[in-house]
Assembly symmetry: C2
Homo-oligomer: 664 residues x 2
């Protein structure tokens, strides 16, 4: 830095500091103070630029200070959900969903075994998932902090997570699809959890050759009815709609003015079936991208629900499926063209518009719900191959905004801006909404404002309260797929990169604040909720609590009531667990015994979690304060098995052990 | 802040900044600049204190800047290893070890299946582990960045991780123990990986009633021979030593002057066996803490190795076990008392001393290796119940330092300080070493210097290059077990808390810099290595690389050589994988076919990883650039199964799919 620049810089800094310290508009509030003497030296020594310093101060969250936002990110093929504090970008928790997870004792003999088994596919154990789109429960279009839903693309399943204890309570297997994608999105009051399809198969994924693709293969969109009182999806009150064998992709629920409707983009309206056995066809990535436009699916779910309730669905594999022809005749389904190789279908906060990115088109296309309704009322004159009415693009389009290369997903803020992830550009594009949003920002409506480079290959993008009727602004997170050169090398399998972006200022002032490696998951989408909307338990409400039923377990163990009861080869154990002992601490079995073992934590202190592991038996539990669990197994290995507490609970934690002796 | 204080503060800040900007001792180097104007306002708005600001600047690591240290932390009952950047405290990677992990395709049909099966216990699949103590390979007592070893306490297993690709290559099951604890520690040149025991069982964990505890139950310490050329533990060159049925705990290898020796602490020399079936005995935590002292185990492993090579071991379950009586007669094993309820046995960098914490004693006890040798030479006059010679504490003790409540583990720095984790105090105690370390610090030797509060219940503590012959200083990390009130509430199962502590200044100037929640693991121990010692591959060295053999696979697929070969019901597939297609993209099977499927990634671009999932078949692979994998399964489900890429690889990633059709 040249000398005169240094002088100007120092004067500017002093001016800023004096302003900060003297009760001016940037006054230091009580309890906080100014910049410490050694700050510049530390920054210099670590090579931090002024922008880095600001970013550090905008994200660093001191010990005991909590994050104002919580992000729920899918874990992709990790099969889990990550819970992340924003803006500190620290992983607060992992929630086991489709994959067993032994830290939380999920799927290792106790809790989770039944839930995971619900996800079996035709009796086969599936011990992983490809979690894609987390959906927080909503009330009147606002996140209510009660439930989280997430789909497994790889096996077409949807899971329900209870945000009182952050545990997975249910997995439902889609009986008619073997893969999905456009889930889990909720209707504005969480009446339904929507699971949109992806690659078409015959309904029920029975065998049919690809030569019969057009006739036999289909998409199905599922409306899973959510019962809030029971905290479970009710498959009997759920229904599906048959769709053409295009590859439906992302979906979003209408809200506000468009409440009652659903919008899904699609691709492969070419119905390409690949190179085939002889290798002579076009590869999928070429065959599926020949058409200039595919179809945005516009679905009237309230009318579909009425059809379902009127018994117009057909039972297929235990669920009611509204046939495609009924969907057409009853005006449940319309198409409108969307350019090119579409991805993302995102509804604006008030429900007025649907934004679709075209992976191979430099624009986002904005559809007007009002225009869609007018076009429907006018009576569409065109149909697709399957007879679905097609609304003309010119009749439904509100605007197109040229953003650059590879627009995918769009989220919103409180200032009338939209933010679109640009995969090929590796950028976040900020652009302006028009209509009722035009007054909120200083720029012209429907114009690009800034393209912020991100590192690299951004997929989804998430915004604070972004999918609600009233997004917050302040932050978006870029879910970057590649991270090469961003972090220390940890081998050929590199982490993804979540980049926190400050969007608090208008205009072209977006700034990347933080790079967060994700090296145990490949998140697809995330939702960000205000932390104070979440009211999780710190300990279970009563001793003996069964997290599966969310009530006291009939087999809960009280201090003094511990016992072992043998009835022939059936042995039942009631064991209490408290710092730092198991009672009883000796269990004597005979090889071949069938064992039912109830364990109850008597703890009432938050964080006083105990584990319970039986060596050689593939059993590990996590017993949170008050929790009761039951394990059941055959004592098929004889010997001496010291069970012990796997969670460091006290100074005498290592002494929290006992013996399971199995006589040959 | 009072007005005059503000003025002094501003002047001080300006002085500091001017110093920083004017080429003085804290000059700003090229490329970095000073504090931005809005920094104080941002800090004030977020309630950051001057100490917070310094901490933020000492830890924030901007996009593209890499961490100078890498921490390998065990994941506890999560069964994995976490790779963390220091000082940014970001998780760079999770390494699946004892638990399957679908993000990295570990244990879902391809890589990892064989490794995980090596860890079966008497034929039973064990799909989790309780990883405890990671041990980096060493050359001449320094981490060499080549290998990482880690033990599974729950099933007495040890795993080998190759740091070229950060993947688990081997799991060995201890044939004579069903639980372990004091592993994995290496000898100074990684000749052996040491696995110390924990809860005693009969050797081979066969059945014996607790009434026969003293006669039939035993500890065994294992010396696993590591073959660097093969990158595998060689069980045939490994041996064990029989120990009394005390509960041996943590171990550390001597180095420098004490090279050739091993030190393990122990507890439950009372041989307590709990309350028993009738509940009338003392609970373990009382029974095991009656004695004022237990025994530090002092083992001459070089002499034990000579005994093993001389055939003095007894083959038990396929491994050579040196009997306790031979260990005594051949002078392999000595005891010396250690107070009270000991935990941790940590050797100073030069090997001169062993530090033992007593969980229920306010001191750490420091043993002199030189004094131990003199006491051995003088001929011990006392013996324990099993005839093991006991060296008198007064003869072996160099010093005791009173630190406070609950001292557990001790690590070291470059300034002659030791750092002990204080569980009950929730503190890190800094204290001074004497002897050859006395000149390195300004304080008196063997005195406590500072007790730094941590949040809360610290277990282990890790230091930068801390277990080497030349620790670095600068950082220690407190592995706190409880985190209540530190982070946003995420339900009853709370994260652990890693606190990064700045130890760069002498005296009582230690400072907590960062709180890092760990919400997917319960790490026990961690080692921290200089990042530049690691030289991982960014892509596999050649196309067709098999990470299991670390060589090109004979079934690697080249572009143009893809094929499907049917031989009766046996179908073999050679498939290539590259953005954005699988070749072939259609595989036609008959129900009941046995399928062998080879896949090779033709990619050479770093980070261009592909997944490969078969819905409904519990199969998911991660194919890093150049990687070749083989899966094998029976086509036992008929139908249409669209396989697809689970790792977002390109703009046309969704189009990277194909069909596996299984005819009924």
């Amino acid at each position: 830095m040249k000398h005169w620049k240094k002088i100007i810089f120092v004067v500017a800094v002093v001016a800023g500091l004096v302003a900060a310290c003297s009760g001016g508009p940037t006054a230091t509030p009580e309890g906080a103070t100014g910049i410490p003497q050694d700050a510049a030296a530390v920054a210099a020594q670590r090579g931090l630029t002024p922008a880095d310093i600001t970013a550090a101060l905008k994200t660093y969250t001191p010990s005991g200070q909590t994050d104002p936002y919580i992000m729920f990110a899918s874990g992709g093929q990790g099969g889990q959900v990550l819970v992340i504090g924003v803006p500190s970008m620290r992983i607060l928790r992992l929630i086991g969903v489709f994959s067993p997870e032994s830290w939380q004792g999920y799927g290792y003999g106790g809790g989770g075994d039944k839930v995971l088994a619900e996800g079996n596919v035709k009796g086969k154990e599936i011990k992983w998932g490809d979690t894609h789109h987390p959906g927080l429960s909503e009330t009147k279009g606002e996140y209510d902090g009660q439930w989280l839903f997430i789909n497994d693309k790889a096996n077409a399943r949807v899971a329900v997570i209870d945000l009182r204890d952050f545990e997975t309570k249910q997995i439902v297997k889609n009986p008619n699809a073997i893969v999905d994608h456009g889930g889990s999105f909720v209707t504005p009051d969480t009446d339904y959890v929507i699971e949109g399809p992806q690659y078409a198969t015959p309904i029920g994924w029975g065998y049919a050759p690809l030569s019969e693709y057009k006739d036999k293969y289909r998409g199905v969109i599922t409306f899973w009815k959510f019962d809030r009182d029971k905290g479970r999806i009710d498959p009997k009150q759920s229904f599906q709609i048959e769709l053409p064998p295009y590859w439906q992709d992302l979906c979003d629920a209408g809200k506000g003015v468009s409440n009652g409707w659903i919008f899904c983009n699609s691709f492969n309206t070419e119905m390409a079936t690949g190179m085939g056995v002889d290798g002579k066809g076009a590869p999928y990535e070429a065959g599926t991208t020949q058409n200039d436009t595919d179809y945005l699916h516009i679905i009237n779910w309230k009318a579909a629900e009425a059809d379902f309730k009127a018994g117009k669905g057909k039972d297929i594999n235990g669920i009611s499926v509204i046939p495609l022809e009924t969907a057409i005749s009853d005006k449940l389904l319309y198409f409108t063209p969307e350019p090119k190789s579409p991805h993302g279908a995102d509804v604006t906060p008030g429900g007025e518009y649907v934004v679709v990115g075209g992976k191979l088109d430099p624009h986002v296309t904005i559809y007007s719900f009002d225009k869609i309704q007018k076009a429907i009322a006018a009576g569409p004159t065109e149909k697709d191959t399957f007879g679905v009415p097609v609304l003309k693009l010119d009749d439904t389009k509100e605007a197109q905004v040229e953003l650059g290369l590879g627009p995918l997903h769009t989220v919103f803020d409180d200032k009338g801006y939209a933010y679109t992830s640009m995969f090929l550009d590796s950028a976040v594009a900020r652009w302006t909404l028009g209509g009722p949003y035009a007054d909120k920002h200083p720029e012209q409506p429907w114009t690009k404002v800034q393209s912020l480079p991100v590192q690299y290959n951004i997929g989804h993008i998430a915004a604070a309260e972004g999918d609600t009727a009233s997004p917050d602004g302040q932050y978006v997170v870029a879910l970057d797929k590649w991270s090469i050169d961003r972090f220390a090398n940890v081998g050929p399998l590199m982490p993804q990169n979540f980049q926190l972006v400050d969007i608090s200022q208008t205009g072209d002032k977006m700034q990347v604040l933080y790079d967060m490696p994700i090296g145990m998951a490949e998140p697809h989408y995330a939702q960000i909720i205000k932390a104070d909307k979440l009211k999780p338990w710190q300990v279970y409400p009563e001793v003996g609590w069964n997290p599966e039923t969310q009530s006291v377990d009939p087999n809960a163990v009280k201090a003094g009531s511990e016992k072992v009861v043998r009835n022939g080869k059936d042995v039942e154990i009631w064991m209490s667990v408290i710092r730092s002992h198991y009672t009883p601490d000796l269990v004597e079995l005979q090889k071949g015994d069938h064992v039912v073992w109830h364990l109850t934590s008597l703890e009432r202190t938050p964080d006083a979690t105990h584990g319970f592991a039986i060596p050689g038996y593939n059993i590990n539990l996590s017993l949170e304060p008050g929790e009761s669990q039951t394990i059941e197994f055959d004592a098929d290995q004889d010997g001496t098995f010291p069970f012990y507490c796997t969670e460091f609970c006290s100074a005498l934690h290592l002494e929290m052990t006992g013996q399971m002796l199995v006589k040959p």
